[in-house]
């Protein structure tokens, strides 16, 4: 068997319940992002550009859509004779079978998969971050420093540091201390949840952790502290550039809006680092007479007859005459009728917004649809929801059923 230098494992994890109605029937990594992508396109494309050709995607929530999407991995050049893309759900074993208990347990349960390729190193990624990163550079540093594990870190604003897992490093970049959400952070270097382990070290710590009944089987909470305790060589790899966790409705909306902001250093049109995705067979988009489009991105399969301002419109969306879309994200296949007004909303896939509906209006009295998922005046309309004619929906609402 040809030995692989590095195999990637993407923790595509659980439901992502903070995305509300968007993850009702799809796993978080399959949630659309950036006009024509899905969240998982980012780590997968990064792998493709970093020369990593063997990727396991670990998932246990609503796998159908994610499975279909990844398929044989060909959109990311991951259709290989040896290696390629694998979706790895939990499975029944001879003695027992169980769900993934935590991030570390998910990898532990797939040691058999890793053994098949017998890599020298294993790259652990999460499936809910938007960024472009050359994992090859991180791997080089990891190999050069002979570390048991290398963790990618990035500086965050000091006042936000207490929301992250903070790494304290010495002058050689070695990690000397790890604090999960510290009240008084000593550094502002946050862990990005990207690890490269020596395979042998990973195997050893995962097996020990599995045998520890009190462990939460989590990389951040258990494995990393344990390795620090054992004085393993732990290196940091600092990343500078755009990185965003899109775990909540608001952060997903915000990350989409960042794409329209020229001052943000995140450019999807860079042909040197293409983000690959599975392309539906859509025709170019059509802009009708009377269409007005400003500060927005529109993609193939759309027909725009109305006004789109400062919004991200995904493939196959129709915006009817007289409608005005502002500061919003419209997911694929959605139909927006005529004279609709949408302000600051995320509209799910294949939704229907009927003529004259108004979304994002000021609440007149008590709003029964108000949801803690929808903060800062944001409205979320779920996938495949129909909003009836002339219906008004107040700010901060989440709509999960036809209304």
């Amino acid at each position: 068997m040809v030995q692989k230098q590095c195999v990637a494992m993407i923790l595509a994890g659980g439901q992502g319940s903070r995305l509300g109605a968007l993850t009702k029937s799809v796993a978080k990594p399959a949630v659309p992002f950036g006009g024509k992508y899905r969240i998982i396109d980012f780590p997968l494309s990064n792998c493709a550009h970093s020369g990593i050709d063997t990727v396991g995607v670990l998932t246990q929530y609503q796998p159908l859509e994610l499975n279909t999407y990844i398929g044989n991995g060909s959109p990311w050049d991951l259709d290989r004779n040896h290696g390629g893309a694998y979706v790895l759900p939990p499975y029944q074993k001879a003695e027992s079978g169980e769900w993934y208990k935590g991030t570390a347990n998910a990898i532990y349960q797939n040691l058999g998969f890793l053994e098949k390729f017998h890599p020298e190193h294993v790259l652990i990624l999460s499936g809910d971050h938007i960024y472009k990163m050359h994992y090859g550079e991180m791997l080089d540093k990891h190999i050069k420093s002979d570390a048991a594990v290398t963790i990618a870190v990035m500086p965050v604003p000091w006042d936000e540091a207490s929301r992250f897992g903070i790494m304290n490093v010495n002058e050689n970049g070695e990690i000397v201390e790890f604090e999960e959400k510290p009240q008084n952070p000593k550094s502002n270097l946050a862990s990005m949840g990207i690890y490269i382990f020596k395979y042998e070290a990973l195997k050893k710590y995962l097996t020990e952790d599995e045998n520890d009944a009190s462990s939460a089987n989590d990389f951040g909470k258990n494995i990393i502290p344990k390795m620090l305790e054992n004085k393993e060589i732990m290196q940091s790899f600092s990343f500078e550039g755009y990185w965003k966790d899109v775990g909540t409705v608001h952060s997903l909306w915000e990350a989409n809006m960042d794409l329209l902001d020229e001052s943000q250093p995140f450019d999807l049109s860079d042909r040197r680092w293409i983000i690959y995705s599975r392309n539906p067979a859509h025709a170019p988009h059509f802009t009708g007479k009377g269409a007005v489009i400003h500060n927005s991105t529109i993609t193939e399969g759309c027909s725009i007859y109305g006004t789109v301002e400062h919004s991200v419109v995904f493939g196959g969306v129709t915006v009817g005459k007289g409608s005005v879309i502002k500061d919003s994200v419209i997911l694929p296949g959605t139909y927006i009728g005529e004279n609709v007004v949408i302000e600051k909303a995320v509209i799910g896939s294949d939704a229907i917004i009927s003529d004259g509906a108004k979304i994002g209006v000021e609440a007149a009295g008590e709003n029964p649809y108000e949801s803690p998922m929808c903060t800062n005046d944001l409205v979320l309309i779920g996938n495949e929801v129909t909003v009836s004619m002339n219906r008004e929906i107040a700010r901060n609402s989440m709509i999960v059923q036809n209304i």
Partner: protein
């Protein structure tokens, strides 16, 4: 449809300057497509699993576009898509003078194919036809050959003269054929698509080659009328073929028509093409767009009206582009004015320039030109 194979003939007709670097079938059209995508997708959508694309000389761009046939799901272990450059040793006198010679040059492939029926088509047709229905009629009528035609009632004679016109009796059997007549007698125009048993096609090629004949219609079909059952299949959707700059221009602009666009991009029979993974098109704060068909990867900061834009086109602030076809990665700088132009790929127009063509005579600029 596994028992029907496809054979697409990509000729070397010239539309200078845009065919200087590619075969006509490889011309970009409707923004993100190539002309051949239409007929190829029709065949793939009908479930055909063996399609040959015969080429003449200028085929590198076609080869690059089609590659393994993956976008059409024709990358198969067994059969699938085959690109067929000519084997000149099979052609009498060693020169290709007509489509019979083209087919003779690839007769080994035809011979090897196992299907009973063959759909023969030119590679420059623009239409979305359901071949399943055509084959069904072909078998039901017991025809030896079926020609797909469209009634171009109301179309000017000069336009009709571009086509091969078929005259039918009341049973839709062909009684006469005229290739590009100056004075058309009928309005029923062949679309360059013929269905027959593969064995018949092989015998026609053999017979014509042996006699030194070159043209499938003039030398074979015309002479077989009355001796064989040649039926017509009436197609009533949008159909045209691209054979001049004028028809190229018109067949791009037709995608601005809601009805035609929806018909050609029927979601039940999608048109596939090579994927380029371009990011979504970005619109600037001062962009104005009206009645346009725009591919991904563009950056639009100026004014665009009645245009077809391929992938990766950049239109800077203050530029005004009207009634034009702009191919991939062309850059229109600030304050440029364009009207009725056809830009090949990677044309760069510097600040403030003005280029005006006419509808009857669009201004075509070759690939990579800097103005």
């Amino acid at each position: 449809m596994r028992d029907t194979m496809g054979l697409i003939l990509c000729g070397d007709e010239a539309i200078p300057p845009i065919t200087d670097i590619r075969a006509i079938s490889a011309l970009p059209i409707a923004g993100r497509y190539r002309i051949i995508d239409f007929i190829l997708s029709c065949m793939a959508n009908a479930g055909m699993i063996n399609v040959g694309v015969a080429t003449q000389s200028n085929y590198s761009s076609l080869m690059d576009h089609i590659k393994s046939g993956n976008p059409w799901d024709l990358d198969r272990k067994n059969q699938g898509l085959t690109l067929l450059p000519p084997n000149m040793s099979r052609v009498s006198y060693g020169t290709i003078k007509g489509n019979i010679d083209m087919m003779a040059s690839i007769s080994d492939y035809l011979h090897r194919s196992q299907q009973t029926y063959v759909i023969l088509s030119l590679g420059n047709a623009i239409l979305n036809v359901d071949f399943k229905k055509v084959i069904k009629q072909h078998i039901e009528t017991g025809a030896d050959m079926t020609v797909i035609y469209k009634d171009l009632k109301g179309v000017e004679d000069s336009e009709l003269s571009r086509f091969t016109l078929f005259e039918f009796d009341e049973d839709k059997q062909v009684v006469d054929v005229e290739v590009q007549p100056y004075y058309p007698k009928v309005t029923t125009a062949g679309l360059g698509i013929y269905i027959m048993e593969k064995a018949l096609l092989e015998s026609i090629i053999d017979e014509c080659s042996a006699r030194g004949d070159h043209d499938f219609v003039k030398d074979a079909v015309a002479k077989k009328i009355g001796k064989m059952h040649i039926y017509g299949y009436e197609f009533d959707g949008y159909a045209d073929r691209i054979d001049s700059l004028k028809s190229y221009y018109r067949n791009n602009m037709i995608f601005l028509n809601d009805e035609v666009r929806r018909e050609l991009f029927n979601p039940h029979r999608p048109i596939y093409t090579k994927v380029k993974d371009q990011s979504p098109t970005q619109y600037g704060a001062n962009a104005t767009v009206e009645n346009c068909f725009i591919s991904d990867g563009c950056l639009i900061e100026g004014t665009v009206e009645n245009c077809i834009l391929s992938r990766g086109v950049k239109i800077a602030k203050g530029a005004v582009v009207r009634n034009s076809i702009i191919m991939q990665d062309s850059v229109i700088d600030c304050d440029v004015t364009l009207d009725h132009v056809v830009f090949d790929k990677e044309v760069y127009v510097t600040r403030g320039r003005k280029l005006i063509g006419q509808e009857s005579y669009p201004l075509a600029i070759s690939k990579g030109t800097k103005i």
